[in-house]
Symmetry: C2
C-alpha cells in the first residue's frame, strides 16, 4: 500500500451524524486508495453503521471517543472539559502526528477554538482564519476570514491574504489568484479604520496579486479569487449568501407555480433549473479549511451529507500533497513581536 | 389649493438624469395634488425636458443650479466648492425651509455629507443613518445604517434602532416593529466588541421592540423589521443583496435555456417569474431616507428610473404628514455630552 493521507473524521458531529458522515468516508475510500480515514467517536455506534458497507479495512479505522460536544455548548469550556469528545480526540491526533487532517461537521466554535488551542498555530501566524469557498458566476472564490477572529488587526488581514493566495493557487489551482479586500467603495481612501490601515499594507505585500478593493455587489460575479475581510464581515457575507440564495430559490419556485401557464413551464424547466441553482449553493463546496495551523483542520457545514464529507476528505489529500503548510511557513510575513 | 408638501428634486443627479428624474416628477404630481416638486438644476436643460409634458404649473417649479457634483468627486470638497451645484442648492432649500425634503439620485457621498453639513442634525442626534428598505419574503425590512458612518459607537446604534422603529411604524405602517442587531450568532455573548457593547443597551432601551440578534442568513426571510448595524456591515449587506440577486437571476435565466425542454418551459414561465424576481429587487424600493436631520433628505439609487423617483417623492408626503422629525425629537435618547 502506498503512503496514505490520514484523515481523522468526526463521526459524531453535524445534523446528519453518524450515518451521512460514515457514508462519506466510505465513498472517499472507494474513490481513492491513498486515503485512510480514522472515524472518531462512539465505537459501537460507528461499528453498527460501518457494518452496512463493504470496504478495505486498512482504509477505515475507528478511534473511540465517548463524548460529543453539542452546538449550543460554550466552545472554550467544552474543549476544556470534554477531553474524550470526538473533536478533542481528533484534534489531538493531528497534534501528535497520528493524522494529517481533522474534518468535522460539529460545533463551529469548538472546531475554531480546538484548532488554536489543541492543534496550535504555525509559528508566526497571528490568527488562523476560516476560509470557505463560495460559488460565483465564474467558479469559486475563497472568503477569508469567516471564523471567530472578530475585531482583527491589519497585520492579521495581510496574513489572510497571503495564506488565501497559497491555498487558491495550490489547492484550488487558480494561477496568480487575484486578492481583494472587502470595502464600501472602490477608491483607496474609502473604508473603515481597519480597511484604510490594511489597504497600503496589501499594496506593498510581495508575493500576492492584490487588485484593490471589492464591493460586496461584485463578489457573486467572481471579481476576485481571494476575498479578504475581518471575520464579522466574512460571516455576514457567508450567511447572507446562504440565506439569500435559499430565499430567492423559494420565491422563484413560488413564482413559477403562480399561473397555470407558468406551472406547465415550470414542470419542463425545473430539472435544468435545479442543476443551475445547485451550482450556486454555498454548502455544496463543503470544506472550509482553518489555515495556519500545525496540521489541517477542515470545518464542514453542519448540514453536510455524504457528498460534502467525501469532498472534504479528498481535499485533505491535495492539501498534503501540495505541502501547503510548508508553503505558508516559508512565505508568510510575520509581524509578531 | 390645499397645503402642499414641497419636494426639492435633484434634476441633474443619477445615471438617467435629467429625463427619468423629470418624468418621475411629472408622474408624482399627476398622482397627487398635494405635492409641489421643485426641480433643481440647469434651467435650460430642465425646461427642454419639461416641454414634453402637460402638468399643472403650480405643481412643478424650477430652481436654477449651474453646477453638477460628479460621483467620482471627493464629497467633502465637492460640497464645499460647488456652491451652485444641484445638491448644495437643494439642501439649502431644505435648510431654509423653502422645501420640506430633498431627493437625489446623485453622488451618495455628497448627499450624506451635504445632509450633515448643510441641512444639519436634529439636536441630540449623534449621527444621521442612511436607511434603505430591503425586500424580504414577508415584505420589507429597514436596514439601518448603510451610510457613511463607519466605525460607529454603541450609542449611535441605539439611536439608529429608535429612529428606525419610528420610521417603520409611521411611514411603512408596521405596528410595533421588531428590532434586531446584526450578529454572527444568536446568543448574547456572541459578536464583535461593538455588538457586545450595544446588545445590553438595546435590551434596556424603552420604546423599541428589541428581539435580539439576527444572523445575516435570516434577513431575507424577514426575521426582523428594523435591522440595526454599523454602516460598513450595512453597506456589505445592501450591496451583496443587489449583487447576489442579479447574479442569481442571470444564472437562473441561463439554466432555463440550457436544454430544449427547459427553453420551452422558460417561455411559458418567464412572465410569472419576472414579477416574482422584481419583488426581490432592492432597487425597486427606491428611496433611502437619511434620518435625524432638520428636514428630510432621501437618497435614491443612481440607476433610478421614473418609477423610483415618483415613489421617493410620494414617500416624502407620508414623512411630513406623520411628523417623523417631531417624533424623533421627542423619543430619542441622547447621550451626547
Amino acid at each position: 500500500m502506498q503512503e496514505c493521507v490520514k484523515v481523522a473524521l468526526d463521526a459524531m458531529g453535524g445534523d446528519n451524524a453518524p450515518s451521512e458522515i460514515i457514508r462519506g468516508a466510505i465513498d472517499a475510500v472507494h474513490m481513492r486508495q491513498d486515503i485512510q480515514v480514522i472515524l472518531v467517536g462512539q465505537q459501537d455506534v460507528i461499528q453498527k453503521e460501518l457494518s452496512q458497507y463493504a470496504y478495505d479495512e486498512k482504509q477505515i479505522l475507528i478511534r473511540q471517543a465517548s463524548e460529543i460536544i453539542e452546538t449550543a455548548e460554550q466552545p472554550v469550556m467544552a474543549i476544556r472539559r470534554k477531553k474524550d469528545s470526538s473533536i478533542v480526540v481528533g484534534m489531538n491526533m493531528v497534534r501528535q502526528g497520528e493524522a494529517d487532517a481533522f474534518v468535522s461537521a460539529g460545533s463551529s466554535g469548538a472546531v475554531l477554538v480546538g484548532g488554536q488551542v489543541i492543534v496550535g498555530r504555525i509559528k508566526g501566524i497571528e490568527r488562523p482564519p476560516l476560509a470557505p469557498l463560495i460559488p460565483t458566476e465564474k467558479g469559486v472564490s475563497l472568503l477569508i476570514d469567516c471564523g471567530a477572529n472578530v475585531d482583527a488587526r491589519a497585520s492579521h488581514l495581510v496574513q489572510f491574504a497571503q495564506m488565501g493566495s497559497i491555498y487558491m493557487e495550490h489547492v484550488v489551482g487558480i494561477r496568480n489568484p487575484r486578492v481583494a479586500i472587502v470595502n464600501i467603495g472602490a477608491e483607496e481612501e474609502k473604508g473603515n479604520a481597519l480597511v484604510k490601515e490594511t489597504f497600503p499594507l496589501l499594496k506593498e505585500c510581495s508575493g500576492i496579486n492584490f487588485v484593490g478593493s471589492i464591493e460586496a455587489r461584485d463578489i457573486p460575479q467572481g471579481a476576485a479569487d481571494v476575498i479578504v475581510c475581518e471575520a464579522f464581515v466574512g460571516n455576514v457575507i457567508l450567511k447572507l449568501y446562504e440565506g439569500l440564495s435559499s430565499t430567492l430559490i423559494g420565491v422563484i419556485k413560488k413564482g413559477l407555480t403562480s399561473t397555470l401557464k407558468s406551472k406547465i413551464g415550470a414542470a419542463l424547466a425545473l430539472p435544468a433549473l435545479k442543476n443551475t441553482i445547485k451550482s450556486f449553493d454555498a454548502s455544496e463546496y463543503g470544506g472550509a479549511p482553518l489555515l495556519g495551523l500545525n496540521g489541517l483542520v477542515v470545518k464542514i457545514h453542519g448540514s453536510s451529507k455524504a457528498k460534502e464529507v467525501k469532498n472534504a476528505v479528498i481535499q485533505c489529500v491535495t492539501f498534503k500533497e501540495q505541502n501547503i503548510n510548508e508553503k505558508i511557513k516559508s512565505n508568510i510575513i510575520t509581524t509578531e513581536k
